[in-house]
């Protein structure tokens, strides 16, 4: 009963807060908000991949595949931007499918290294083939999302608020789909493949097929996040999808925690706000990597189960006091 009420009030309240959020921010914070929203999709898709127990170092490159593909579909073929974004996501999923053949001959640490190598090969291809990928400089002047008017609101996609709303809707739908997947029998099988792979195999589960499925679905969402990014900043280049960016994604996932759906999202939000807003506003422009690193070490030392463990403790305490209060009432 209480949970239902929470859903009825909580979700609309959250939606209202997210819609109102950019109006309380400065222009540059609105820009950060756009990138943060896109990165939430990236890190959530990464968690979907890790459900089967495999950690990849090529996820950001797959995001780049979506970005490059969507940019090329609009630039070279003149495809309408929203359609090209979806096609970009499909291309990323397709590339992941092809990569899965060699990669899923490996497991664990070997998969990790294999995924890094595969990602580097893709980045080298972008650099080597100037036509069509633009070489080291990448692709510029990518078509922006076309502006439109819905009567109550006019979308000008140069403005961060407009693009934030677009990203919010897209990311919101994607998160809902990922949530449903995790809760479905397929998602439960992902967990089984991670924690009891031999048992699952003995029960007739095609472990490799499920690992591939998680990899492909996660890559599709990562590709969509890349497409969203490409059509906002108007340029993509191989350096934007390098191992440094991958380390950021890993950091968000580790600091946030991967046991829950919201863990990596919390990690991305907290660390992005810290790095891009708090430290910059405090005037630590050039000391940010140092302080960011220090805080990461502290979080690993003092919060080894991630930021999600804090949320879990708060929820457990609240549920505990709620149960106690209910017990008192019954008495």
């Amino acid at each position: 009963m209480r949970n239902r009420a929470l859903h009825i009030i909580g979700w609309p309240a959250l939606a209202a807060a997210l819609i109102a959020l950019p109006y309380g921010l400065s222009f540059s914070q609105q820009e950060v908000l756009v990138f943060l929203t896109i990165n939430v999709l990236l890190v959530a898709s990464y968690r979907l991949l890790t459900l089967t127990g495999e950690w990849s170092l090529g996820h950001v490159v797959i995001m780049g595949v979506g970005a490059y593909a969507s940019a090329l579909y609009t630039k070279e073929l003149g495809i309408y931007v929203p359609i090209s974004m979806i096609l970009g996501a499909c291309t990323a999923a397709l590339v992941a499918m092809l990569l899965s053949f060699p990669l899923f001959r490996m497991k664990g640490f070997y998969f990790l290294i294999g995924s890094f190598a595969a990602g580097e090969i893709i980045r080298l291809l972008w650099k080597r083939f100037r036509d069509p990928f633009g070489g080291p400089k990448g692709i510029k002047k990518i078509d922006p999302m076309p502006d439109f008017d819905i009567g109550i609101y006019s979308f000008d996609f140069f403005e961060p608020i407009s693009y934030y709303y677009l990203a919010l809707v897209v990311v919101g739908i994607c998160l809902w789909i990922m949530w449903r997947i995790e809760r479905s029998p397929v998602g439960l099988t992902f967990h089984a493949v991670h924690w009891q792979d031999k048992l699952a195999e003995a029960a007739g589960v095609n472990v490799r097929a499920y690992r591939t499925l998680a990899f492909v679905i996660a890559s599709g969402f990562a590709g969509l996040s890349g497409a969203l990014l490409a059509h906002y900043i108007g340029t993509v280049n191989p350096n934007s999808f390098d191992i440094e960016m991958m380390v950021f994604v890993l950091t968000w996932a580790i600091v946030g925690g991967t046991a829950t759906f919201y863990g990596p999202i919390i990690g991305a939000i907290v660390l992005t706000i810290l790095n891009e807003v708090v430290l910059r506003e405090m005037g630590f422009e050039q000391m940010r990597p140092l302080i960011y690193g220090l805080l990461l070490i502290c979080s690993v030392l003092f919060l080894p189960k991630g930021l999600e463990s804090v949320v879990q403790k708060v929820l457990a305490r609240r549920n505990g006091s709620g149960a106690a209060a209910a017990g008192e009432e019954q008495a």
């Binding site: 400065s26 222009f27 540059s28 820009e31 950060v32 990138f35 080298l124 650099k127 100037r130 069509p132 633009g134 070489g135 080291p136 400089k137 990448g138 692709i139 510029k140 002047k141 922006p144 140069f158 961060p160 990014l229 900043i233 108007g234 340029t235 280049n237 350096n239 934007s240 891009e276 910059r280 405090m282 005037g283 630590f284 422009e285 050039q286 000391m287 940010r288 990597p289 302080i291 220090l294 502290c298 003092f302």
Partner: protein, 434 residues
């Protein structure tokens, strides 16, 4: 305090407390300079460049140089505009050489800080900032003219015409060491390396120097340069050209050349922090090393045609504040500010369109190394690069010295077709860029 902490043992609470105190005091200190300008009229200038990360060597020293420039200008009464004198304040934003962060930074500087001019390193970051420039009409500068194209009407390359000035080093080499006739070249395969490769190829061809092999392009992630150097030296060249490489490449390549016994001529666009190379190699090995960026304690910079206030004192002050950090960009952004200041005072306004019009009036401008012209339509599709003379610097007895100033337009008038041929071959003409 430290001894007390050590004496009583370091607890988690103390560690966090001490960190918070350090962060707090640093934050307070960082706010002080802004408070000093609160009373007067202030013009804000944006500095949007990498201040951290691997490319920071071409950003942070520039901001450090600009701070000295601002202090000197403010001490002399500031910028004199139609409505009175204005102090100058630089607002830095670390774009980490990332186009997305460049966009955020440009938005902050234009729409929140209300700066009147933004200086950038350019390269990968310019496409991120370009929509902001196009929409707001803000005046930007870049150190990389390859960012220029016909539609970048508010983007200027007023200090450095990279990589075109590299022709001056080769021209000087051919005139002064005519017996050197064979060369090899290596470069990182990126936006900075490739146009420079095309330029050096044109310059070598114009000077009658034969390339013994195609330029060796290495991946920017390369850290082991032994194979690169071994391959280059296998043809026994008289000249080794290091193209335009970051110091992270120039230093280990020089070290490898030294270790593999190379004794010939080296030519490079930059030799940032060359004192460190000297330490790793030897004064004899580095003797005659040609590059393009002078130390500002050079007596040649006191010539009348130099448009930079007290370069020797600037170098001295910079070296005092940031020992061992003098590099190619330490003076470049400050020299752009000299040009901007002259144009703003001429226009009587700091508004971007007024400054741009004043700066380009008559098609001529006062470049740091002498009178120059706004140029570039041939190569960049727009005359927004200020081109004139450029110094040729040679290391002699462990110290960089200017050996002369050579004219880029004069070279281009004679060999422009070669330049266009090689630029086109590497896909670097403005109409070839994706």
């Amino acid at each position: 305090m430290l001894t007390t902490i050590l004496k009583n043992g370091l607890t988690r609470r103390k560690l966090l407390g001490a960190t918070a105190a350090a962060v707090g005091s640093a934050a307070t200190a960082s706010l002080l300079p802004k408070a000093a300008f609160a009373a007067g009229k202030v013009i804000k200038i944006g500095f949007l460049a990498p201040l951290t990360g691997p490319v920071s060597a071409w950003g942070k020293p520039g901001l450090d140089g600009c701070q000295i420039w601002a202090e000197w200008v403010n001490a002399a009464g500031g910028i004199k505009l139609a409505d009175g004198n204005h102090m100058v304040e630089f607002i830095g934003y670390d774009n980490e050489y990332d186009p997305a962060k460049a966009r955020t930074g440009a938005t902050k500087l234009v729409r929140e800080d209300e700066v009147k001019f933004i200086m950038m390193l350019g390269g990968d970051t310019w496409p991120g900032a370009q929509p902001v420039a196009d929409t707001t009409g803000m005046l930007f500068s870049t150190l990389l003219p390859s960012d220029l194209s016909p539609d970048t009407t508010t983007l200027l390359a007023p200090a450095e015409v990279h990589p075109i000035y590299n022709v001056t080093g080769v021209e000087w080499l051919a005139e002064n060491k005519p017996d050197l006739k064979t060369a090899v070249m290596c470069a990182q395969d990126d936006a900075l390396g490739l146009p420079s490769v095309a330029t050096y190829l044109a310059a070598f061809e114009a000077a009658g120097i034969e390339m013994q092999d195609a330029p060796l392009l290495f991946d920017p992630a390369t850290t082991d340069f032994a194979p690169v150097v071994t391959k280059m030296l296998s043809t026994n060249p008289q000249i080794v050209c290091l193209d335009t490489a970051y110091s992270d490449y120039v230093h280990p390549i020089c070290e490898q050349l030294f270790q593999q016994g190379y004794k010939g001529q080296i030519i490079s666009c930059t030799a940032d922090f060359y004192e460190q190379i000297l330490e790793k190699t030897s004064v004899e090995f580095m003797e005659g090393f040609i590059f393009q960026f002078p130390d500002f304690d050079d007596p040649a910079l006191n010539a009348d045609f130099i448009n930079f206030q007290e370069p020797n004192r600037f170098y001295e002050e910079y070296s005092k504040r940031h020992p061992g950090e003098w590099g190619a960009v330490s003076w470049e952004y400050a020299s752009i500010m000299d040009l901007w200041r002259a144009a703003a005072e001429k226009a009587g306004s700091a508004e971007p369109d007024a400054v741009l019009a004043a700066m380009k009036e008559g098609g001529k401008g006062k470049h740091i190394f002498g009178d120059a012209e706004w140029w570039g339509k041939d190569l960049f599709g727009i005359d927004n690069a200020l081109v004139g003379n450029w110094p040729v610097v040679v290391i002699e007895s462990g110290k960089a010295r200017i050996k002369g100033f050579k004219s880029i337009p004069e070279w281009y008038a004679k060999h422009g077709d070669l330049m266009k041929k090689h630029m086109a071959a590497y896909g670097q003409m403005w109409n070839q860029r994706t």
